[in-house]
Point group: C2
Chain length 470, copies 2
């Protein structure tokens, strides 16, 4: 049973999946069309039939992808069916619209079903009044758990944890534990470990349920505990929590307060969601898009998020243009400079972005630390210099063949070396500096680096030209 | 016990963690210094003492961060201590160096300890001979499991799964299951569910261990199964597997072959690692850096990864320059064009990157699908147009004040509108096209979009200028 047996079928040879099933995990197009139809017809029964077999997460995705007016019609029909699971899957961006349309008793039922961490996630961005309205649906102890979580800072482990935990003293036997679990009416939806606590509720270890099931009834829980055991401070940042889960292959981890007392537990599925969001944030920030951007934003929402970054970029581009304007007369004399100068800037920008991205990722994954920072900076400087030499030769040859002047070739070669070296240094030093200042290293790094390489590129290229060519 | 109790301490108010403990999960600087010292001294006992309390993942990180010659010295001293856990944590990039230095018997012991998925990960990139050498250490059934996994395509669920699973028929009672587990000598290191199978080994459901522990001995396993149950095809792409785990909050999921028979199980910690790697790949590809780039690469390695992309960029930059060179005489007459043209190109590049990044992420998270693609394209086109109008006004006013010509202001405004609209369309259509062609939408999208916006930007700006200003 415990798997040594394997099907002996021989047809299981290496081969590519027949075709890429890109929509494997997605509601099929036709289903969506049918849903749209049911909404348009106001056919409540049909809508329920269509959605009934679906997972809450997929229903939430469908709600997210409807345009706002159709969503309103949808909720008119479907609001009564929305339960805690669906509600906790719905994206923050549209949650308020959904909450407004839910009948109070449906909302109350949904909230009562949810784990405390999902309730925290639901109410943390609401104003005081709406929050109180929702919390009123909970019984006293659940409400107290949610309020306790809300006392921890945003994006902390305390907000991420659920207060529903299963604990036991280490002197219990497996038999006592099983009897306790069988007698207990109230247990978390899912749990994978029993947390061992001392009488003052300090976690001292944990036991995998699998190990407990395989042990004799009279085995002491204390003897079954895992070798490696880690608690998480309720004040730890959620990004660090996600890192710890990924690094140490944790499935669940106890959360403790300042006095090291157990206050909750974080499970890996929540940590995985955080990891996903943190990545999303990095990639969007690097591209100069507001961190919560989504493909489902409206046009005005999108403009609101993107225009500020473009506004910054127009300002920095004007700075670069000011640098160019210093050399107007040189350009009038040698128009080849105008033709070639974007190459210098573009190569600097690209090389800078490469370094920057690797540095931002290394900071996020904690592989760039005080221990190796100077080695990394030296290495990037060396890479920048060698890149510069390589493309100095390439562009020198191109310029020579194209415009026939050896001095012009020399000028663009020198500018290439300087700009690619600066690009490399800026690419690693700018995110490091932002990190030291406590800012997100992805934030605005791209703009800084690009401005630097544009300004340095135009200045060295045109400056050298004005000295050499005149 | 089951948590209603919460510490009543009042000091748990909202407050920031005393200071950002950035190295919380990292070996501290001093520890690293001591390790370096022990290596330099050849002090084996001291090295063992230092590393003894550390988690395998952290030891692997330390090995990765050593420079290659120091790593060799380290392995001379420490190779005997390397076990399966450490070995499976070591990054592919340096794994070969480590394998070469491991004494055969240490390697054999380590491999025997590992789960089958970790062995697959270890041997899949080795050549036939080295692979056979390692597999020889395994007993027959484990070796067969690994070889079975290796028949599935790279990056498929079949490579990711472990063959160690716990199964039961659904007609078993909880008591029978517990007795079976107690009697079974061999069980997986970690397991969270019992998979219910029919006599032909088709999975039909699964039972959480927690639910089993809470049930009476005579309860049938079939009655305890979870409502939602999903199997994963051994041929599914690992990215889709990670998506499914994150979407449906799976903790473990059974893997089936073409005949729907159970061949293994994937656990969420492996899915989380895949999610992490896929993000990493996206972000590095978007930046034009080879997908396996790491901050610990050597200078030559780094150059080897980055120069090809820069080479592509130098070619596309030359194409843009060719466009500029068409208008050499116009530029000589109106040098203001040379000053302003980089702004048009830069704004296009930035707006294109914004759209591109959102589109690439939406494809990765499956929120951009055939169902909403035209809505998204229309919306981006509208955003592009409105961005264009906004910055047409901004740059028109700037150009007017700076160079005093209303025609020049009109020209740059028009060029802005055209280029930002094109940027938006290119930003969404290029990744969509790459995706349709089966390529990674992040791959080279950036280069395509930038080339497009540079060429279009220079061409419309200078082209309009040559018509209007002359």
């Amino acid at each position: 049973m415990s798997e040594d047996e394997r099907p002996e079928t021989e047809e299981l040879v290496t081969e590519a999946p027949s075709e890429r099933e890109e929509d494997e995990f997605l509601p099929r197009r036709e289903l969506l069309d049918q849903i749209h139809e049911a909404i348009a017809m106001g056919d409540k029964a049909r809508l329920n039939d269509l959605l009934e077999p679906m997972h809450a997460a997929d229903i939430a995705d469908i709600i997210e992808r409807l345009d706002p007016s159709r969503r309103r019609d949808f909720l008119e029909l479907y609001a009564g069916e929305i339960d805690g699971e669906i509600l906790s899957e719905i994206d923050e961006a549209i949650r308020e619209q959904v909450l407004e349309q839910l009948p109070p008793e449906v909302l109350a039922d949904a909230v009562r079903e949810m784990d405390s961490d999902d309730v925290v996630d639901l109410v943390e961005d609401l104003d005081e009044e709406d929050r109180e309205g929702i919390l009123a649906a909970l019984d006293d102890s659940d409400r107290a758990a949610v309020q306790q979580s809300l006392t921890y800072p945003e994006y902390s482990a305390g907000r991420l944890m659920q207060s529903e935990v299963v604990t036991a003293p280490e002197h219990w036997t497996v038999g006592e534990m099983i009897d306790f679990l069988r007698a207990e009416e109230w247990l978390p939806e899912q749990f994978y470990h029993v947390i061992l606590v001392d009488p003052r509720r300090h976690p001292v270890g944990y036991v995998q349920l699998g190990r407990m099931l395989a042990a004799k009834r009279d085995a002491l829980l204390g003897t079954l505990r895992e070798d490696s055991f880690r608690t998480i401070s309720a004040y730890a940042e959620e990004g660090d929590v996600a890192y710890a889960f990924n690094q140490y292959h944790l499935i669940s981890a106890p959360v403790v307060d300042k006095d090291d007392r157990l206050v909750g537990v974080i499970t890996i599925d929540d940590a995985m969601a955080v990891l996903d969001e943190e990545h999303e944030e990095d990639i969007l920030l690097l591209a100069g898009v507001g961190e919560d951007s989504s493909i489902t934003d409206s046009v005005t929402e999108t403009l609101r998020r993107r225009i500020p970054w473009l506004m910054v970029n127009v300002c920095t581009a004007i700075v670069s243009s000011l640098v160019i304007s210093i050399f107007e007369t040189t350009i009038t004399d040698f128009v080849a400079l105008a033709v070639l100068m974007p190459i210098v800037a573009s190569m600097g920008g690209n090389a800078g972005t490469q370094t920057l991205t690797v540095a931002v990722r290394a900071l996020a994954t904690k592989s760039l630390t005080t221990g190796n920072v100077w080695r990394v900076v030296r290495r990037e400087a060396m890479v920048g210099l060698l890149n510069g030499l390589t493309f100095a030769v390439v562009m020198g040859v191109v310029a020579w063949f194209w415009f026939g002047g050896i001095s012009l070739a020399g000028v663009i070669g020198m500018a290439m070396i300087v700009n690619l070296a600066i690009a490399a240094l800026a690419g690693v030093l700018i995110p490091l500096t932002l990190d030291k200042l406590g800012a997100d290293p992805a934030l605005a790094s791209g703009t800084f680096v690009m401005t630097m390489t544009d300004v340095v590129g135009f200045f060295t290229f045109l400056g050298l030209a004005s000295m050499v060519l005149v």
